[in-house]
Symmetry: C2
Subunit: 213 residues, 2 copies
DNA sequence: GGATAGTGGTAAGTAGCACTATCCACTCCC
DNA sequence: GGGAGTGGATAGTGCTACTTACCACTATCC
């Protein structure tokens, strides 16, 4: 187990904790107090850390995902839903005078772009929540980003789809969906900030060098 | 204060807590145990809840942002950096055999797209972390999403910039930057999932209707 | 063959966070 | 003039993600 800990870069007690919580399967016992672990274990532990550190997921959420990985859901379509539900913790929009308008706005957007959607989809509710909140604090002007974001979201989802690749390799697809859903958000946010910093540097400039020549 | 609590939809003890923690300024005292609150207070409390519920920020991070709001930084360029740093909690990539390659990949990407960047920018480090992690667990195939994501990130940052609008209204710009940085990620993630659900429905279909005609 | 270090398993303890409850002297308003 | 409410402070709560400590046992090195 010391080796396992070394290989995965995670302290022994934490590994024990993960096993207790069912995030990582137990080793194959070779005696009353000895067990073997293989590369699969190392990988799983690293994955757990990745989802926790970069995905910002709770242990409970990760447990859900890991179980999803272990019994590949029968229907791919349902798997995506499960991954989405597990990864996103949901906040219902607080009722307020602007909720309806926000709902209408997102519905319009979806209609315009030809998205099929359902009014009780958690992400729809989240988007509505953010929008109605912006309206409530009088920042309607920020709602105009919506179309730009929507366009970007389409581009992202397209990339996600491409990453799935060959759909017949079930196990692989399941893993890509689960990891991609959780870590994708983080990666996108990081790239967004890089571009923002770049634009900010270019337009507002830190110490603007005098142009060469 | 009961009115304030009512208007903001937040329990009284929580408001007291926020004031104690400096997230919300105290009211204008009108007696030894009485104070006046105005619309600004209601707005600020709502904003705090928004950042906590939808932005997923910690109280400490929100305090940082609120202070940013209160003394508009002199330089816009620095403000963005401050907002970014406050919103994103940073995880240094664990050293591993793939970190260097990941670094090279992101650097290449940035060079290809003409992004100016610095090697110690937190978002750069985060992106590197995610990539090297994917490599470590043998999911290099997922790294191919990078270009698609980068394109989307450019689109997003462009929308963000457009939302800033007139740069001369300092106070407004500061607010848009702070709110946009925090809530933008959530909004983007929500839209991403909506598109994913749509595509998934379309391609893998739940109950696929027989084509009309 | 005997000390020492390490193992799997479990139970109890801890640190940090975001509140929540309780108390207090006071004061508003009916 | 009396009960409800106020600002302010201190202490307590529930949750999460680990850590510590302990156990009986075993592998291994000398």
């Amino acid at each position: 187990m010391a080796e396992l800990s070394e290989a995965a870069g995670v302290p022994v007690p934490t590994i024990k904790y993960y096993m207790r919580e069912g995030l990582v399967p137990p080793g194959r016992p070779t005696g009353r107090n000895q067990a073997d672990y293989d590369q699969g274990h190392v990988r799983k532990i690293k994955l757990v850390r990745a989802l926790a550190d970069y995905g910002g997921l709770s242990i409970a959420a990760i447990r859900g995902l890991m179980h999803e990985l272990d019994n590949p859901a029968t229907e791919l379509h349902r798997l995506l839903g499960a991954a989405q539900r597990t990864v996103t913790e949901h906040t219902e929009p607080r009722p307020g005078p602007h909720v309806e308008e926000a709902q209408r706005r997102i519905a319009d957007l979806a209609a315009r772009r030809g998205w099929h959607w359902e009014p009780d989809h958690p992400s729809f509710r989240t988007a509505v929540g953010v929008l109605s909140l912006l309206a409530e604090i009088g920042r309607q002007d920020m709602i105009d980003v919506l179309d730009g974001y929507a366009e970007a979201a389409e581009r992202i989802a397209q990339a996600d789809l491409a990453a799935l690749g060959d759909l017949s390799d079930r196990e692989r697809v399941v893993e890509v969906v689960v990891i991609g859903t959780a870590l994708g958000d983080t990666l996108i946010a990081a790239l967004r900030r890089m571009v923002q910093a770049h634009l900010s540097h270019e337009l507002l400039g830190g110490h603007v060098e005098p142009p060469a020549r």
